[in-house]
Amino acid sequence: MTDHVLTYMTFFPLAGMVVVLLLPRERHDLVRWASALFTLPPLLLAVWLYRNFDPVNPGLQFVEKAAWIPAYNINYFVAVDGISISMVLLTALLTFLCIFASWGIDKGVKGYFALFLLLDTGMMGVFVALDFFLFYIFWEVMLLPMYFLIGIWGGPRREYAAIKFFLYTLFGSVLMLLAILALYFSSEPHTFDMTQLIAQSSRYGTTPLHFWPFDHLRWGFQHVVWMALFIGFAIKIPAFPFHTWLPDAHVEAPTAISVILAGILLKMGAYGILRINYPMLPEATADLAYYFLGALGTWNIIYGALCAMAQKDFKKLVAYSSVSHMGYVMLGMASFTPQGISGAVLQMFNHGTITGMLFLLVGVIYDRAHHRDIDGFGGLAAVMPVYTGVSVLAFFASMGLPGLSGFISEVLVLLGAWQKYPLLSALGASGVILTAGYLLWTIQRVYLGATNEKYKAMPEINGRELFTLVPLGIIVIILGVYPNALLDLLRASLDQLNQLVIPHLS
Amino acid sequence: MTHPFFPVLVLFFFAGSVVLALLLIAQMVGPKRPNPVKDEPFESGNPPKGDARIRFPVKFYLVAMLFLIFDLEGVFLYPWAVLFRRLGIFGLVEMGIFLTVVVVGFVYAWKKGALDWE
């Protein structure tokens, strides 16, 4: 059992999909419980993984490798290390909770849960795959169910949102595929094995390219591949100017899918850069990180916060706050300091839990009021005290209030960035103020003030909804007080990653 | 020296010029007095009757096509007969196969009613 723990975690949901497809269509509750049952083992295994992960070892752990298409050196190769462990934990947790957040879906229930379980397999696969070919396949497998989940179960403009999401992501995927092929053909012997590609990273030429438009930039092959991969990942992050699919997709998607989108899918972009760009193309990373991760990340922080401030739609506000928060991840990654990079990975995890909570909270009132207009509420604190309490916790965490998890990661990122780019760090810190601004303003408009007559009789948050929120809230508090619970696992691998790039910094 | 085929080219040229010249002379010199009888199509002296474009029963075409197919297939038997001894048993078997295919076609045509006139 323990030999194949990652395989079980990845493919349990797929087995669940088959089971769900075989269940009778009318038995909605059966389908829901079956889905919950099949996402529970990955969560339990994730807990086991957390307890058995060796934090001192910077290398790969729980490795599984089997030949898949031997003629081309393609393997089934999965493992975790400090870069991916937190994402694997997050995926297992959020998918399990989101099954319960999806309880209210009553159209095409069977199809919804089947696609959801397939999505789960795709996401888990992306985080554990260490063969480039396998990585790409999981990456695409995840794209399709997401497209359907937005396109079929989404809001009124679902088709537009789904297609936009799909085309953006697909464009990135094609660039990524070309980059993968480029790396494959410059390795010797040709391989898709990420560890081997990393070991050969010096092979990928850095001799300048002598054709337009690269001749003035002194760019080498590495830089071109880096950019192709970066655009693919930046679309997922989403970094400005590739972010425009995000507000549409978030607003139209059903609640649980918004949580998955913000909580897990956005992390894949940052994860991909850490997993692939950093170790495989260290020279290009050293040359380009300042512009495309540091400066762009800072811009993301400020731009996202300003956009969020202008929103009237509650969900759009949360969506733009994601753009802003992912900016911290980019800024932290670009710093190449132990604090900055571990802050970035911690921020990825925290953003997953906090924004997950925010989307769930929006979903709770949307289910009751059927609109998300921020100004349409008011004084909910009097009607729904428990709900308001949880909301305020999530808002404060998102704001970065000391004692909650968001604070730790943002401070680490800004500290790390300060050592390298004081200006960017200062600008990023101003983002914290903007964030506090729009979040406090929202709290005031939605929860405080005079109670809106229409919602005097709004029912309090129910047990199922609380069940999805409370675990996330607990994690937010624990990581706020004792961040080493997670940071310890990351440190060794991330330091090693830093050491690959630092020698190339000029 | 000129090309050995040069005289042929000269001949072509002259032949062409003669034809052209005769046509032109007839056009210019010949008298033109058209009348209704002269304008009629020539049918060996018989007065023409009805439209030239009439519909034939499609059966004629069918028979013509069947004739072509089976006639040509029949012709194939002659060269085979001439070489019969050299081709030996292999040739016999091969012709047997060929004839089987032809017979299948024939039976098909027959059963489909291609040979019935009514």
């Binding site: 898949w68 298409i69 031997p70 003629a71 081309y72 095409g108 199809g111 790409y136 396949i137 695409e140 497998v141 399709l144 359907f148 396109g151 079929i152 679902r158 088709e159 789904a162 297609i163 799909f166 085309l167 697909l170 464009f171 094609v174 595929l177 070309l178 092929l181 053909f185 | 081709l87 030996g88 292999f90 089987t100 295919v101 299948v104 039976v107 098909y108 059963k111 489909k112």
Partner: protein
């Protein structure tokens, strides 16, 4: 005179089946016609068994003008499978449209025989014979739904343009004969070295004309204009048969003639072929986007896929040949499936071929919706389906041969194709109204055909290794 007849066994079996079907059809009642389906399928299965039995042998017949190598056998199996799926998916269609059943199946079988001959021919005359046998059968099949005027129009167009293409081909063969002194491919190849000095212009002209003739058959741009009308007018199972088997047969001939026997001339045709490939996929995809009928969209998509396949011919060599054969397999599975779902939408007089007819199908007929989504995604090149794996190896072969630009253009093209493939899925799951689709009980054979296509699409995508090995072995056996 000793003649080895073993290479003819599978094709002889196909002809025998065709003749039996034709004869039996005359003597049975209308309600017993189902028997013909079974006879055809059993005949195809027997032929397939023979081909399997002969696998690995390397023999020739009639002074090596027909070869029995793994390459020929690979294509034999492909054509037999294509014929079987065509017959399975046309059982209900033929009955609904009052097409004569016996002739229909017999013609499918006879065309299949022609294709087998094309893949096995090692002599240009014999290749031509196979091509004509195949083409004439398909011309008639195209027009067999006589009550429909589009079908007659399509048959006429296809016949005229086909005859035109045949003319090119034949003239090309004649010129090559003039330059090399033989129509036998082996002898042409050996004559190439000596005739270079004074025969090269004639030879090039012959090769060029042969090219054009084959380009018509695979529907490469700019020789594609007949495709949409013909595919649209023909009975849908025949469109599928044309899109898959006819194309595969032409590619088989192309591979044997150009990638192997005439490969010394490769440098001469690489550039035009490259242009042809780029043009074909781009034009095919662009025109497919603007279609409102799914059947016409599939016709244009088949043009685009011919373009992808041409990449393999440009790349050449072992990796190109392997990619070509593998992609043909994947393409067969997904194309048959897509046309199969289209057939399932037909109700009596109404063909239901527009995009809007697919609206809501995903909920009304979940199996058909799921299958069609799979086929569309596979055609668009999504992992882990057959289309992705196939394209991956196509592009890989292009990169191996140094045509990185082709790989990039191909990848961008498949991005383009997503637009129109996705529209079908959008219709099926995000719109309402539209056609009902036949339930399983009314078309069990068709559902069987679609299920086979689904299995093929998924299997070739998830576990491509055996089929890739098979493709490689088959292609190597040419040498």
């Amino acid at each position: 005179m000793e003649t080895n007849l073993a290479p003819l066994l599978p094709s002889a079996e196909v002809v025998l089946t065709a003749l039996s079907v034709l004869l039996l059809d005359l003597f049975i009642r209308k309600d017993e016609k189902g028997l013909l389906v079974w006879i055809s399928l059993i005949g195809l299965a027997l032929a397939g068994g023979m081909a399997l039995f002969l696998w690995g042998s390397h023999e020739g017949a009639f002074q090596d003008s027909i070869l029995l190598d793994d390459f020929a056998l690979f294509f034999t199996e492909l054509f037999l499978g294509a014929a079987a799926i065509t017959i399975l998916s046309s059982v209900h269609y033929v009955r609904e449209t009052n097409i004569h059943e016996g002739e229909f199946y017999a013609l499918v079988l006879l065309s299949t025989f022609g294709m087998i001959l094309m893949a096995a021919a090692n002599d240009l005359i014999l290749f031509f014979l196979g091509l004509e046998t195949m083409s004439i059968g398909v011309y008639i099949l195209t027009g067999m739904w006589r009550e429909r005027s589009q079908a007659s129009e399509a048959a006429m167009k296809y016949f005229l343009i086909g005859a035109f293409a045949t003319g090119f081909l034949l003239y090309g063969i004649a010129l090559i004969y003039g330059a090399a002194g033989s129509t036998h491919l082996g002898r042409i190849a050996s004559a190439l070295g000596q005739t270079k000095s004074h025969g090269s212009i004639i030879l090039s002209a012959g090769v060029f004309l042969l090219f054009v003739g084959l380009a018509f058959k695979v529907a490469a741009v700019p020789f594609h204009f007949w495709v949409p009308d013909v595919y649209d007018g023909a009975p849908t199972p025949v469109s599928a048969f044309m899109a898959v088997a006819v194309k595969a047969a032409a590619f088989a001939g192309w591979a044997r003639i150009f990638l192997y026997q005439l490969s010394p001339l490769q440098s001469e045709w690489t550039l035009p072929l490259k242009a042809l490939a780029i043009l074909t996929m781009t034009v095919g995809n662009l025109l497919a986007i603007s279609q409102s009928s799914v059947k016409r969209m599939l016709a244009y998509s088949s043009i685009a896929h011919a373009g992808y396949l041409l990449i393999a011919l440009v790349a050449g060599g072992e990796s190109g040949g392997q990619a070509l054969l593998f992609y043909l397999l994947s393409y067969a599975a997904m194309t048959f499936g897509a046309f199969g779902v289209l057939i399932a939408l037909k109700e009596g007089e109404n063909d239901h071929e527009a995009y809007s007819d697919f609206a809501g199908l995903g909920f009304k007929r979940p199996f058909l919706g799921m299958a069609m989504s799979l086929f569309m995604l596979s055609l668009a090149g999504f992992p882990p389906l057959a289309g992705f794996t196939g394209k991956f190896y196509l592009f890989r072969s292009a990169v191996v041969a140094g045509h990185i630009d082709l790989a990039i253009i191909g990848a961008l093209n498949s991005l383009l194709s997503v637009v129109y493939y996705l529209r079908v899925i959008v219709m099926m799951y995000m719109e309402e109204g539209g056609a009902e689709g036949k339930p399983f009980a009314r078309a069990p054979y068709l559902y069987l055909a679609i299920a086979i296509a689904v299995l093929g699409t998924v299997y070739l995508g998830v576990l491509p290794a055996p089929a890739l090995d098979l493709s490689r072995i088959s292609f190597i056996s040419l040498h």
